[in-house]
């Protein structure tokens, strides 16, 4: 078999391994009792490199890629997509390593270089995490004053507002509202109860009102119908009287409570 054919075969097998990874049920390994929680694919890869005691500057890619895929399967990782992406990258590097090198070896660029750089950067960040964790624990082990007796009258303090806070708020809104400007038009059912409540509150305040005050000029048909039915209902209940002085004139609505002079 030629080199190219061998590489192609490897790649086929690798692709199959990736495609299988999430679907295949995890083998229940007896020794996997306490699954460590990984913060991400780089965390997993880094701990693999540590466990396998390999040199980070000279990673045996084929071996590490295989182990990496195995761990993804065993751990049944939830964010599998991100882990699989790194797995695919490892296999790509492996393929590049398998390809015969052309030209001078000095000009050959190690396909692992970018990965190593990222791993080192990630490891550096993990060091900071350790520091933060230690300091956070230290602080958590000491309490601040918790009991705050109520003070007398509290005067409103001046406001501290930043544009950043406002932008953040908009950010949050846009995250939950996908299409903020598009409203879906749905058929509205009549809201007679709402209209009744509104008329009642209006005539509780004033002796009379006119149709034009109750229904806006550009009211939708359902609003006009709701109001009409509400007025008829209230008239039937004897709470108000309707009058139209002349044809096409605005309907007048009068408060009609018993015991009051007309």
């Amino acid at each position: 078999m030629s080199d190219e054919a061998a590489v192609a075969d490897e790649l086929r097998a690798d692709r199959a391994a990736i495609e299988d990874a999430p679907a295949e049920p995890a083998p229940r390994l007896a020794f996997v009792v306490d699954l460590p929680a990984y913060a991400g694919p780089l965390d997993l890869l880094l701990s693999l490199i540590r466990d396998e005691k390999v040199d980070i500057y000279d990673i045996p890619i084929a071996h590490v890629a295989k182990q990496f895929l195995l761990r993804i399967r065993v751990l049944q990782l939830n964010d599998a997509a991100e882990y699989l992406e790194l797995a695919a990258r490892l296999l790509r590097i492996k393929a590049q390593m398998l390809l015969p090198r052309h030209g001078e070896s000095e000009t050959w660029e190690d396909p692992r270089a970018e990965l190593v750089r990222r791993l080192l950067e990630y490891q550096q960040m993990r060091e900071v995490v350790d520091i933060l964790e230690r300091r956070g624990d230290e602080r958590r082990s000491r309490f601040a004053r918790a009991y705050l007796p109520e003070s007398g009258e509290s005067v409103a303090a001046p406001l501290a507002l930043s544009l950043g806070e406002l932008l953040t708020a908009i950010d949050r809104i846009l995250r939950v509202t996908r299409e903020p400007t598009v409203h879906t038009v749905v058929a509205r059912t009549l809201d007679v109860a709402g209209a009744i409540a509104m008329v009642r509150s209006l005539i509780a305040e004033r002796r009379n009102a006119r149709w034009g005050e109750l229904v806006a000029r550009d009211a939708e048909p359902w609003q006009i119908l709701s109001m009409l039915l509400a007025l008829l209902e209230l008239a039937k209940l004897g709470e108000l009287r309707l009058a139209q002085p002349r044809p096409f004139a605005s309907v007048e609505i009068q408060h009609d409570s018993p015991g009051e002079a007309a």
Binding site: R145, A157, L163, L166, A169, V176, D191, G194
Partner: protein, 180 residues
């Protein structure tokens, strides 16, 4: 101070409410009630004799450390001067919606936020960050809200157009292309 007094001091300081004496006993199960009581006396005396800014008080069956009354006024004055209040996330969101959609009615704001905003509108209005700017047509003629000049002042904006456009924000918030 002896260890028991120090423990009581730390617990009284850390507790969100006054502590009844039985609960103080739970702190040091090996100490007798008489020892707890003596320790409380020692702490009170220490604060009084040594001249501290705080004192130990038993109020309504619970023990608490209180700031001495003579300092409270100075403290409140300094706090007020140096620690301006912040708006809650809910209030900021409501304010942001009004800034971008004004004039806007309560129902529309509630549709976007998914929760009632009545009391928030009221407090934003009290702080003069928003105001009623008109009434919508239609049933019930709901009130419409808009931002005030003080709003611009607070955010150091010359005019509303200085806010980033909503479509710019939407682009910024699109899921980024996956790394790796």
């Amino acid at each position: 101070m002896i260890p028991l007094v120090k423990l009581l001091e730390a617990a009284l300081f850390a507790s969100p409410r006054p502590i009844p004496v039985e609960e103080l006993s739970a702190l040091a199960p090996e100490a007798s009630p008489a020892e707890i009581s003596a320790a409380l006396d020692a702490l009170r005396e220490h604060y009084d004799v040594d001249g501290h800014g705080v004192e130990l008080a038993e109020i309504g069956g619970g023990w608490q450390i209180l700031t001495r009354a003579e300092y409270t006024e100075a403290i409140e004055r300094a706090q007020l001067a140096a620690r301006p209040q912040r708006l809650s996330a809910a209030a900021l969101e409501t304010l942001a919606i009004i800034a971008y959609r004004q004039p806007i009615g309560r129902t529309e704001i509630e549709e976007i936020r998914g929760v009632a905003v009545g009391s928030i509108l009221k407090s934003l209005q009290e702080r003069a960050l928003i105001d009623v700017v008109g009434r919508a047509e239609g049933l019930g003629r709901p009130l419409l809200y808009g931002t005030t000049p003080l709003f611009l002042e607070q955010f150091a904006l010359r005019h509303l157009e200085e806010l980033p456009r909503a479509d710019e924000l939407a682009i910024a918030l699109r899921p980024a292309p996956q790394p790796l």
